[in-house]
Structure formats: structure tokens, C-alpha cells
């Protein structure tokens, strides 16, 4: 399980390009910076009020300097602090190039469900609706199936929706899908899996990309 999360984060890191403004959700997305090549320079935006968020401090953590998950962070040269209205203003306005969010379910049309499992988990929506609305590129990360094997990539989400038609890419430990014009395309098969594995564990209808490839580990 832990391994799957690392594999997903490692693949997601390839989506982050030099010069981007990036917002990372909690959960698997928070692991992505560990896999960024040191040659890539980006600014991480955190919706609690930082642009240019740096890594975890080596020592002397400051209670007033944290990421959106409440963990201590640092600020890079050129970084800034701002209030919540500005933080979401830049998100809605489309200033964030890529938003990488954890997901519970994604539909073949790119609908995202990631804020509540009624009667079980009630985390709340946080900033996910705005990120889904404003980010130029929204990437959803999740394990391919539920623990009991039920698919999470569906014709139609069964959990309450965070935002409709917003996910552009899905990365799981088994596959990478792109969603264009409300249609899903399998772009990559992750190492150790086959097309038939993926078909078995995916409810959503998808086409195969002409460039379909197996990702190197």
C-alpha cells in the first residue's frame, strides 16, 4: 500500500515542469516533491497563504509557518505570504498551472469525488472545489481500486461530486489516463500491469492512446 503511493507520486512528479506554479493536495500529492528532479525549479502554492513554499525545516520549526495540512515548512527566496482571499483569488483566476489532488473516485468524463464518504468519512471539501475550477491542469492521484477491489474509475461517480468535468489526468499504480473532451484515453500502463489487468479493474469506458506505452520503472 505504502509502495503504491510512492509509485503514484513518483509518476506524478513527471507532470511537474520547470517554471510551473504548483498546488499539491494532502495525501499522495504531498509525496510528489520527494521525486522532483533537482534541475526543476517550481513555486509551490499553498492555499493557507504561501507562494514559494520550501521544504520541511531541518530544525526549529515555526508554528506560524505551515502548509495546508498543518505541517511545518519553509519559504524560498522570492516567496510571499498572503491571506486566504488572495490565496483563492489566484487559484480561481487560473494562476496555478497544475493542481495535483488526491481522489476517491473519478468518472470517465472527468468528474471528481474527493470530499466525503457519507456516513463514514466527513473530511469536508477544503479548497478542492476552487482548485478543480481554476487550475489549468488538474491531476487526480489515487490507488486504482478500493481495498476490497471495487473500481474507483467509474462511468459515473457514486460519491458526492467535488466538481464536474475537471480532471485532465488520472495517475494510479496501474495506469495513466488522460481525459479530453469528456472522453478517457489510456496513455500508459504502469510497470507490472497489463492492458487486461487495467480493463478488469476499471469500470469507465476508455480508448487506447495511439502512443500507448509501458512506463519504465
Amino acid at each position: 500500500m505504502g509502495d503504491e503511493r510512492q509509485i503514484i507520486a513518483q509518476r506524478a512528479a513527471h507532470e511537474v515542469k520547470d517554471g510551473m506554479i504548483v498546488n499539491l493536495g494532502i495525501g499522495i500529492p504531498s509525496l510528489v516533491p520527494d521525486y522532483l528532479d533537482s534541475s526543476i525549479r517550481v513555486f509551490f502554492q499553498a492555499e493557507n497563504g504561501i507562494l514559494g513554499m520550501g521544504p520541511t525545516p531541518a530544525g526549529n520549526a515555526d508554528g506560524n509557518l505551515s502548509n495546508a495540512a498543518g505541517l511545518p515548512v519553509t519559504i524560498l527566496p522570492g516567496g510571499s505570504y498572503f491571506d486566504s482571499a488572495i490565496a483563492f483569488g489566484m487559484i480561481r483566476r487560473g494562476c496555478v498551472n497544475v493542481s495535483i489532488l488526491g481522489a476517491l473516485q473519478v468518472s470517465e468524463r472527468g468528474d471528481l469525488a474527493n470530499w466525503i464518504v457519507p456516513g463514514k468519512r466527513v473530511p469536508g471539501v477544503g479548497g478542492a472545489m476552487e482548485l478543480a475550477y481554476g487550475a489549468k491542469n488538474l491531476i487526480a492521484l489515487m490507488t486504482h481500486c478500493e481495498k476490497d477491489g471495487r473500481p474507483k474509475i467509474l462511468n459515473k461517480c457514486t460519491l458526492p461530486i467535488t466538481a464536474f468535468h475537471c480532471v485532465k489526468k488520472i495517475i494510479t499504480e496501474m495506469a495513466v489516463f488522460a481525459i479530453h473532451d469528456h472522453a478517457m484515453v489510456l496513455e500508459e500502463i504502469m510497470p507490472g500491469f497489463s492492458l487486461s489487468n487495467i480493463k478488469t479493474h476499471t469500470e469507465a469506458d476508455f480508448k487506447l492512446s495511439p502512443q500507448l506505452k509501458e512506463t519504465s520503472p
Binding site: 499553498a46 492555499e47 493557507n48 497563504g49 504561501i50 520549526a61 515555526d62 508554528g63 506560524n64 509557518l65 505551515s66 495546508a68 495540512a69 498543518g70 505541517l71 511545518p72 519559504i75 505570504y81 498572503f82 491571506d83 486566504s84 482571499a85 490565496a87 483563492f88 483569488g89 487559484i91 480561481r92 470530499w115 466525503i116 456516513g119 468519512r121 466527513v122 473530511p123 469536508g124 471539501v125 477544503g126 479548497g127 478542492a128 472545489m129 476552487e130 475550477y133 458526492p160 461530486i161 467535488t162 466538481a163 464536474f164
Partner: protein, 233 residues
């Protein structure tokens, strides 16, 4: 107390809290939530409070400490996941929770604070969080109407306040505080440092003192952050 000296003590501000009030609170996961004023609220005995703020904190951090006492009747917040007690109270019907997208919530508070009558957005359209919000059609496009939020009382945490109530914040502890400070009838500020007027650089003041009613000195955070704790919780 005068317009130019709003500094007071916790005993005095305790009487500002009342049963059934709508209380706006600053902070994001407890960062920027005023620790002394949370304790003051708890000691005030005020109950049936309607809370509005970014989140439910943690059970031992921020507004979470008060929520665990079951003296809040409602909460408008963007998430409650870090405080399982809030989720339990919600599921038991003891706490009415209205979820709002985080950036929409702060804009609603901002609208209340700047005298606007609300705003339109497509965020949340067609989802459970549209609740019974009015839908406004302009041309071919539909929008949700988001109403402004105001409070009876607001509690705010600042890095520095002068005696007029001009405020400066610290790093990510700023978050919702500037707008929470603007949107209530009575705003109480807990400040880490209180300085004479003329000490703060006017170019650097984030919230002008006009919005502030009372200022109390802070002893700093009196809880441990989750990352400071060694146990599994």
C-alpha cells in the same frame, strides 16, 4: 477605554460572549486561531454558539477545543477532517454543519466585512454544497448566489497590534484573520505584541484599527501541534 486605547483584559472580554451568538474565528488548522481567546470563550460559559471559520481545528487545537465541549449548535466551515469529534457530533445530530468551499467561505466573510450584498459563482454548482442557495441566470449561464456573512463577535490572532487596533500578522497565521476582523459587530484581537500608535509602519498594516473593538495580550499558543507530538495520534 478610548478609540485610541482598546487594550483590555480577558475578564472584560469574557462578558462580550453571549449565548446563541454568531462567532467568527480566524485560523487555519489552529494556526492563527487566538489561543487565549479560545480559553476565554470556554470560561465564559457561553453556549449554543453558531461558529463560522475555516475548519474545526483539532480536538486539542484551536476552535476544536471548544467544539468538543458540545456548546456549539452550528458550524460553517470548509472542512472538519482534522477533528473527528466534530464529525461524530455532526453524525449524532448535535452539531449542524454547513460545508463551504474554502475560498467561497472567505469571500462570503469578506463580502460581509466590506458591505457587499453577496456574489455569484459557478463553484459548487450541481453539488451537495449548493444546498438551497439561489440560482441566478444571466444570459445562458447559471450561477450560485453566495450571501455575505457577518457575525456578532469575531476573534482574531495578530502578531502585532497598536493600541488603535492596527494589525500585522505572522506568516501563514494571517490566513482568514484579516476578513474575520472586518465582518463582525465586535472584533476582539489577541496580539503577541501590543505597541504604541506610531510604532507600526503604516505601509505594512494589514488591517486598519477601525474594525477592532478590544485588544488583549497573548501568551502564545498553549497547545502542542500535531507534528510536535510523539505518540501515534
Amino acid at each position: 477605554m478610548s478609540l485610541f486605547n482598546k487594550v483590555t483584559d480577558y475578564e472584560t472580554v469574557k462578558s462580550v460572549f453571549f449565548d446563541g451568538m454568531t462567532l467568527l474565528f480566524g485560523g487555519f488548522g489552529g494556526v492563527g486561531t487566538p489561543p487565549g481567546l479560545i480559553d476565554c470563550l470556554i470560561e465564559s460559559g457561553a453556549t449554543n454558539i453558531n461558529l463560522i471559520g475555516n475548519d474545526a481545528g483539532f480536538p486539542w487545537i484551536g476552535m476544536g477545543k471548544f467544539i468538543c465541549l458540545e456548546r456549539a449548535q452550528s458550524l460553517v466551515a470548509s472542512h472538519i477532517g482534522s477533528n473527528p469529534v466534530a464529525g461524530d457530533l455532526m453524525n449524532q445530530g448535535k452539531l449542524k454543519v454547513e460545508f463551504s468551499p474554502q475560498g467561497i467561505l472567505i469571500e462570503r466573510i469578506r463580502a460581509g466585512g466590506v458591505g457587499l450584498d453577496g456574489f455569484l459563482t459557478q463553484i459548487g454548482m450541481g453539488t451537495n454544497l449548493a444546498y438551497e442557495k439561489p440560482i441566478v441566470k444571466i444570459g445562458d449561464q447559471e450561477f450560485l448566489y453566495e450571501a455575505p456573512i457577518t457575525g456578532d463577535v469575531a476573534i482574531v490572532y495578530a502578531k502585532k497590534a497598536d493600541t488603535f487596533g492596527n494589525l500585522i500578522f505572522d506568516k501563514t497565521a494571517r490566513n482568514t484573520n484579516p476578513y474575520v476582523a472586518m465582518a463582525s459587530k465586535v472584533t476582539i484581537v489577541e496580539a503577541e505584541e501590543i505597541v504604541p500608535m506610531g510604532t507600526l509602519n503604516p505601509e505594512e498594516i494589514i488591517v486598519p484599527g477601525i474594525y477592532v473593538k478590544h485588544i488583549v495580550p497573548s501568551q502564545g499558543y498553549n497547545w502542542k501541534w500535531k507534528w510536535e507530538m510523539n505518540d501515534k495520534s
